[in-house]
Amino acid sequence: MKKTYKIDVDCANCANKMEDAAKNTAGVKDATVNFMTLKMIVEFEDGQEPKAVMQEVLKNCKKVEDDCEIFL
């Protein structure tokens, strides 16, 4: 399942870091962050609850870039 989330982040490199952090979160199959459109597209692994996974994604993103936001 794929879902798109709006995000807010200031620098392009931070967006790349967020992408990495999201990709390495358990339950996420793949993730793409687009800095220009400020969107994060997350593909979840089968049988994962997106809401719970996204909380983890947000936590991991905050770790690599404190100044970011994902609008869940």
């Binding site: 798109t4 200031d10 392009a12 490199n13 687009n34 800095f35 220009m36 400020l38 690599v64």
Partner: protein, 622 residues
């Protein structure tokens, strides 16, 4: 500017003024340092805070951390002014970047903004504005002059001209009358239209296109992936080199050369490295270039589904075309009347009347060429001879219209036509009266389009068609297409394309251009599938990687030129940014470049790269 940016701007101004004042203030020692700390903290407190948080989260190669180390280091070495100035310029750079990105984000979204805000529904004699999402299929909506058509539908009442430029990039207005299908996203220009909707808003053209454009960014190009990988290794590499630079040379000097270690000098050089270590310029300018390229292209009626496709498109060397609907109009038209003694119009009138009861495409095109309503009472004794043609009496005169077999059957001598197409021989009153040539018409810009492609660096053009050999070869010769394969079934087209794919080198990409009708498998098999005339054709929009909104073949070359320009700018930025940084690193290591040059390498390059990236947006005159 938003609030955040304004705040930074004010801090920049305050810090700048303080810095200038301090330069002329005759103080020394700790007081001087204490005074310099004021502008330093004004401009850098948030960076320091973020750096601290980064350490807590074990993000050592965070650019905030690097800036903090570089500037604190400079201050510790006694270069208060430089330390503060580096922080100041870093903030100026960040502000510029955020402003430029925000601005282009808005500009490009505006370019792509074709979303209608409301639909008018007539209720109790009054117009009411409703959300297009709530309008059901079959509802009558009213579109006034100057408004966008919100939902696909059919005109029930009213005549008008439509401006389709938001969808196609084509500024020539299109006429619309009762019974015409209209698509959402067009702007109604002259008259009030009442439209019966045939689709829901979510299924309408405008929604499909918006969806496509908004999600175009999910597929990243090789260059983008290269840059994010590069950034991942670049920063740590530079940091470790900085560390080595601070430690190894002084030790060497001390141990092996017996010189004084000059710690201060080498640490300063190492700090210069840290200032250059931020990969910002690259990381921002590459996606920005692609984004602007896709935005500019969509404004010209060329929708690109991802930056990876823009990249592939720029490397295209082989273009394979479908014939019908791509290079030709796909509708049959009368293209010539030969060997006739009576007037063209009169012969056409006889033909149209004789064929008036047939629904065959050929009869349709005859009637269309005649162009006037048919008065059926003038035709009697219609006899259709299957596979041959028609014999009928028109105004009491016997008329035979059909192929050579019909003429043989009637024993009438006829003249062969040496043009390509379908020939309708005519006999009036038992005598041969000439023949009418009907053929698929080549699109007006097709020839020019092929020439354009060749100029754009396409080395091989191939046409695939299900049509007969004679027709195919004549069209290919007319257009200057090098290679032609005819009499192909849809499955044969796939295998032909696979053959071409197998025989080319990896670097040359193959594009297939089709109209999306029964060539979806080929569109997806090619390196890059281009669908044209895609307005209203969902299948084509789904299957293709690049969608040309109108059916003008000139747009193929345009799409390729846009892609090339975009990629040129992407590479310019990559080489320029990496080049300048490397040079500055070398000069820094040699002690030639100081922190001022380093900050230029960081901020200056970023500003230039961003400005260069924005150039991709201007593709109108390509």
């Amino acid at each position: 500017m938003n609030k955040k940016q304004k705040k930074v701007l004010i801090r920049i101004i305050i810090a700048f003024v303080l810095l200038v004042l301090l330069r002329f203030l005759p103080v020394d020692g700790y007081l001087r340092m204490a005074l310099y700390m004021i502008p330093y903290l004004v401009i850098g407190y948030d960076i320091l805070k973020k750096a601290f948080k980064g350490i807590m989260n074990r993000q050592v190669f965070d650019e905030n951390f690097l800036m903090a180390v570089a500037t604190i280091g400079a201050i510790a070495l006694g270069d208060y002014q430089e330390g503060t100035a580096v922080m100041l310029f870093y903030q100026i750079g960040e502000l510029f970047q955020s402003y430029a990105v925000g601005k282009s984000r808005r500009n490009i979204s505006e370019l792509m903004d074709i979303r209608p805000d409301y639909a008018n529904i007539q209720q109790d004699g009054k117009l009411e504005k409703v959300d297009p999402d709530e309008v059901e299929i079959g509802t009558i909506i009213v579109v006034q002059p100057g408004e966008k058509i919100p939902i696909d539908g059919m005109i029930e009442e009213g005549n008008s001209t439509l401006n389709t430029s938001a969808l196609t990039g084509e500024s020539l207005p299109r006429d619309a009358k009762v019974g015409d299908e209209v698509i959402s996203g067009c702007i109604n220009m002259t008259g009030v239209l009442k439209i019966r909707t045939t689709k829901e808003f979510g299924e309408s053209t405008v929604s499909k296109i918006l969806d496509l454009v908004e999600n175009s960014s999910s597929k990243k190009s090789r260059s983008e992936n290269f840059i994010s990988k590069f950034a991942k290794y670049y920063t740590p590499a530079v940091c470790y080199s900085a560390l080595a630079l601070a430690i190894i040379p002084p030790f060497c000097r001390m141990l092996f050369m017996g010189l004084s270690p000059e710690w201060g000098d080498w640490i300063y050089r190492a700090l210069t490295f840290l200032v250059i270590s931020c990969p910002c310029a690259l990381v921002i300018s590459i996606p920005l270039s692609f984004f602007a390229g896709i935005g500019g292209a969509s404004n010209q009626g060329v929708l690109v589904k991802g930056s990876n496709y823009l990249e592939t498109l720029s490397q295209t060397k082989i273009v394979v075309f479908d014939k019908t609907g791509t290079m030709t109009k796909g509708v049959f038209e009368v293209s010539g009347i030969h060997h006739n003694e009576m007037e063209d119009a009169k012969l056409l009138e006889y033909a149209a009347y004789a064929e008036c009861s047939s629904s065959h495409p050929i009869s349709k095109s005859l009637q269309k060429a005649y162009g006037r309503p048919i008065d059926r009472s003038r035709v009697t004794d219609i006899e259709e001879i299957s596979g041959n043609g028609v014999i009928a009496k028109v105004d009491g005169v016997s008329v035979a219209a059909g192929n050579a077999k019909l003429m043989n059957r009637l024993g009438i001598a006829y003249k062969e036509c040496h043009h390509v197409g379908t020939v309708v021989h005519m006999a009036v009153d038992g005598k041969y009266a000439g023949h009418i040539l009907i053929s698929d018409i080549i699109k007006p810009h097709a020839k020019e389009a092929i020439e354009n492609l060749k100029k754009a660096g396409i080395t091989r053009t191939v046409m695939l068609t299900g049509d007969g050999k004679k027709v195919a070869e004549s069209v290919a010769a007319d257009l200057g297409i090098g290679e032609v394969h005819s009499e192909l079934l849809p499955a044969d087209k796939v295998s032909r394309v696979e053959e071409l794919l197998a025989n080319k080198s990896e670097k040359e990409k193959l594009a297939f251009v089709g109209d999306g009708i029964n060539d979806a498998p080929v569109l997806s098999r090619a390196d890059i599938g281009i669908a044209m005339g895609a307005l209203g054709s969902d299948a084509a929009i789904e299957a293709a990687d690049v969608v040309l909104m109108d059916d003008d073949p000139l747009k193929i070359g345009k799409a390729i030129r846009i892609a090339k320009k975009c990629m040129r700018i992407v590479y310019e930025n990559i080489y320029f940014a990496i080049g300048v940084k490397l040079i500055c690193l070398i000069l820094g290591a040699l002690g030639i470049a100081n922190m001022w040059i380093a900050i230029f390498a960081d901020v200056g390059v970023m500003v230039l790269a961003v400005l260069n990236a924005i150039r991709t947006l201007f593709v109108k005159n390509l």
